[in-house]
Symmetry: none
Subunit: 415 residues, 2 copies
């Protein structure tokens, strides 16, 4: 089963709010095996709403709208759809009863404008909204002029609950039992094009699954998707595709699906009985923040030192002044001394240090903005690596934090 989404509201076209309804609908419908083929957004404009619904019905035969069902002047979805599908609005005593009941519950009296909320296009099924006053509407008009139009309120909580309780059960009954399902292999430290070359032309092997490369500051995610397959078949094919991707791109993979690299680091340390600490300069606390974002991190993570000045590097990390004077704070020697210093001070098994130039200023020809030295210290010695990251100050810092976590994972002999 295919469907389109239409989200309605001037605030969406002005970019003042994020369209979380579209994300939620897309996610839930996909998971239920209903394929969203298109999303669109129009403003609070009857003609634009009618045009968009008409186009969606002509293309796909089914559309879910959100927004424009409230009691105020800019709520015009119902009237626009009623006109388009020739289903005149009729006053529903049942819906009006729900509105009155809801107001009574909060000790209020409805305004005259609320009466419009009780108007329903002829032939529509009312999807009772227990969480607000605007009901959802399910209108199954005969094709080709018609098709399925489901109207939901724009308030995210009300939309979500109506979707779960009223819309998905009805749509599932029409769907054919197949699912749209994705899995992800997460990589870091390797460019998208390099990864694509290592993986090569894997598409025939994994077909009918599709592969997408999703680059971000944390690395490149490889997402495989099964479209319209029975659930068991989809799962088996996805598992096989994940194995195939892992074989072709072994070095850069740190996990699957929602795995966070910091969680992988903590799991590896926990499994080996190791403790961790960090020494940060240019990341200023980001590595610690990433690690401690994971619940239960205190079992393994002791803490860290943010040494943002040369003096603090000397005093709290015992980096010799001569090293900084000779090599500069962003150097292999200083990165190693920082990792070793924090290891001594905290008594941790494995530590990582980060020192770099996050920009926008402070770069030079020899050490351009984005230059970062990272080092790991452990019982068997200290290892350092130099990276040059691109992007904004925030990107460089995020990439450096991700690289620090990856180094720790590697150092522990994982993944």
């Amino acid at each position: 089963m295919h469907i389109e989404l239409l989200t309605i509201g001037n605030e969406l076209l002005l970019g003042q709010v994020v369209d979380t309804n579209a994300v939620e609908l897309a996610k839930e419908l996909s998971a239920a095996g209903i394929r969203v083929t298109r999303r669109a957004t129009v403003g609070d404009d009857g003609a634009a709403i009618a045009d968009a619904v008409r186009d969606a019905l002509a293309r796909t035969g089914a559309v879910i709208t959100t927004g424009g069902l409230g009691p105020t002047r800019d709520d015009i979805t119902k009237a626009a759809v009623a006109r388009l599908l020739d289903a005149p609005l009729e006053f529903s005593d049942e819906v009006w009863g729900h509105v009155l009941e809801r107001y009574r519950h909060f000790g209020r009296t409805p305004a005259e404008s609320n009466r419009s909320q009780a108007e329903v296009p002829r032939g529509a099924t009312v999807l009772r909204n227990r969480w607000g006053t605007a009901p959802g509407l399910w209108l199954d008009a005969p094709m080709p002029s018609g098709g399925l139009v489901v109207m939901l309120p724009g308030v995210p909580l009300e939309m979500r609950l109506l979707l779960q309780h009223e819309v998905l059960p009805r749509l599932r009954a029409r769907a054919d039992g197949t699912v749209v399902r994705s899995r992800t292999v997460r990589t870091t430290g390797v460019a998208e094009s390099t990864l694509a070359e290592a993986i090569g032309n894997i598409e025939p092997e994994i077909a009918p699954l599709t592969l997408a490369y999703l680059p971000g500051v944390d690395g490149v995610d490889l997402r495989v998707t099964a479209w319209s397959l029975p659930a068991a078949d989809a799962d088996a094919r996805l598992a096989a595709a994940i194995r195939a991707l892992r074989m072709r791109a072994p070095r850069a993979v740190y996990g699957e699906d929602d795995t966070d690299l910091a969680a992988a680091v903590l799991n590896a340390a926990r499994a080996r009985g190791l403790t961790l600490a960090v020494a940060e300069s240019c990341t200023g606390g980001l590595v610690g923040a990433r690690i401690t974002a994971v619940p239960g991190s205190s079992e393994v993570f002791l803490g860290g030192i943010v040494a943002y000045t040369d003096l603090i590097k000397q005093q709290l990390l015992e980096v010799p002044h001569a090293l900084i004077a000779e090599h500069g704070a962003v150097s292999e020697a200083v990165a190693c001394a920082m990792a070793e210093g924090v290891r001594r001070n905290f008594g941790a098994s494995v530590t990582v240090s980060v020192t770099g130039i996050a920009g926008p200023t402070g770069g030079s020809e020899a050490k351009p903005v984005g230059t970062v030295w990272l080092a790991t210290a452990a019982e068997r010695g200290t290892q350092a690596v130099r990276k040059v990251f691109g992007g904004s100050r925030a990107d460089i810092r995020a990439r450096a934090a991700q690289a620090a976590l990856w180094l720790m994972l590697e150092r522990m002999g994982a993944p």
Copy 2:
């Protein structure tokens, strides 16, 4: 001037990522007085892309696309638009030169698949991308079959920078002179309803501007918006509205527009010749990360200690063992000792400490999840405050970091 947006990617139809590009484009274009009349999203499907671009051109005559310009097999926007507008792809030595240069900068060699990034539809203007390898493309094909098609990469940072530096200047030159413009008063530490009570019915005073309350983990933003006014008129009215809001809600305001609280803290310290340091437990580095996210923070910020275990609090922050044993790590006494300890160790003028229970476990009746003690230490003594924050572990940590920054600002006698 009217324009439509088309964001491209299966991941958007699957609800796997939030469409931040559409939000950013809508916001920036509206601010520039260019009206976004419609947004749509299609998957990585050449026919769907071509259909959507054709429809947008027929309706509005101008469309900006994002996504599908990368080097991998699922990047097909350029080819789809080239076919639609009968503008065959031609290899551009200039673009290839940029790709090579970018790879050289990072010490890498481009893969064979990168050559496709140098292909440009005939007649297109190349919008040079200094932040990635995929250039933007500006294609002004004759109407009615054509119209303006601007293609931008889907990587958010690259999209944003190309929009700012290449697209908006060109579009502004075509627009009518009125603007949609917003300004924001930023507050923290006060609930939305309390703030609304303090501000009262300010709407008649600021009309025709509109006011929106935007609550988030960092506090409540008050946004006033001028719709379709000449720029000078909009600016004058917005400035007056900002003054009126500041008068009514003086206590909680830390800045305007894009002001970040960490930047305000750094400015206050810089103006007073003070240095800063932090001692973090439950925030695990977040406060340091917030501060060092601001360029130039090293002039003022010395660093910090992340003391995630009791032992590290004793060893590195000199918190007496007896205090922890008697009051627990999340207590006024320990927060004060942490702030004083980091102040001694770093020799900083003003410090802040955070110790709390971020959850999801670890709470008790006396100290529920969300309980956080914060303290500031300065020459004139130490002050502590207890907060109980709601939300997820991530929310509680973010709110605690924001509260720590606000405490430092207050302690310095600002704002």
